[in-house]
Symmetry: C2
Subunit: 213 residues, 2 copies
């Protein structure tokens, strides 16, 4: 058995945040496939590990950690790398952006993508609402990244890995990032140039989805 | 000048989380009113403190902290009280619920309330979508609280204060909590019995809203 196991599936940007952290640190890890599109995150054996029914879940020996930001925090201590608690100010800034990501950037981006790419049907007004909120979040991110290399320090941290979770799927989220958000595009290039980086579909199982009736 | 100043307004459950923490600890604090409904969170002087344009913002001497969970974390260290970092497991559990609150419970509850109570108009499908997500989150919370007094430990922590942020407005959120979610109702009673507790409308300025054209 590998040192780390990550319950995940290829289409989950939240799982990607954790998988990317493992990949960038050359960790001995293996995925544990969650068949999300066939109810895998509602299965009793999955809910036993995480009653919230959310992917990802990390298994490390007897320790079970869920929620992408908490896993990132856990791994940053384990590897002593990409940490945000190197000083009080970076820690506060880092936490703030992690919460903002979960509350806004990832939340709206993932919901919008889910509704347009994977849901059997979706109300147009709901899709438009999510897109509007998503676009506001992307503008905030673009403004913050203009003139800086990484989100909260002179080096990459877990904040960068969290925020990029859904942004390597420009077609699926329907945003021409290079054309519209140049600072975000350059930052994504910096992340993808890191040793060990892989695209989510090359890092986690379950892509492409089988045709569904 | 008071030791703490909190940029807030009465209708913000996210600001309430921080205000309640200050009140429960008998802190020397005063509110700094943000006229949210007239663009106060988009004003240059506010954005200078928090480029994300989000209430609340805490001022403590030269330290400026924004984002409700980060402020709660900051104050829990300052007061050495309601902390979640007393051991690794409580810390992970606490962080997980704080992220879940920001991502799901508070996010959907606050958006649904905003659309139904304060927005000039709202699309019915969007309102229904938010309500559906909000109700799932309330069920998760109810299940977790059944048979336990506090969220992540045998005592109240900042997690309890975060999660209750929007739940003392049952009429405004349109949920008969006592009838539908008895474990949540009992937990809210436990919080409101804490020494120093006040309802958000008695703790922060700006209620009631003036009639708007």
């Amino acid at each position: 058995m590998a040192t780390f196991e990550l319950a995940c599936f290829a289409q989950s940007g939240n799982a990607y945040k954790a998988a990317l952290m493992l990949a960038l640190h050359g960790a001995d890890w293996q995925p544990r496939f969650v068949d999300f599109f066939n109810g895998g995150a509602r299965a009793p054996e999955f809910l036993a590990d995480n009653a919230l029914g959310e992917v990802p879940v990390l298994h490390h020996g007897d320790v079970v950690v869920s929620q992408s930001a908490v896993i990132l925090d856990y791994l940053s201590h384990h590897f002593d790398s990409y940490r945000i608690d190197t000083d009080d100010k970076v820690r506060r800034e880092g936490l703030r952006w992690l919460f903002w990501d979960n509350h806004k950037l990832t939340a709206y981006t993932a919901l919008h993508r889910f509704l347009t790419q994977f849901a059997p049907s979706a109300d147009e007004a709901v899709v438009a609402f999510m897109k509007g909120r998503r676009d506001i979040a992307l503008k905030v991110l673009e403004r913050h990244l203009a003139g800086r290399d990484w989100m909260v320090d002179a080096r990459p941290t877990i904040v960068d890995l969290s925020l990029c979770g859904y942004l390597y799927w420009p077609e699926e989220i329907g945003v021409d990032i290079s054309a519209t958000f140049p600072a975000i595009a350059r930052w994504l290039d910096r992340i993808s140039a890191l040793d060990g980086w892989k695209h989510p579909y090359d890092l986690m199982p379950g892509h492409p989805l089988p045709d569904r009736a």
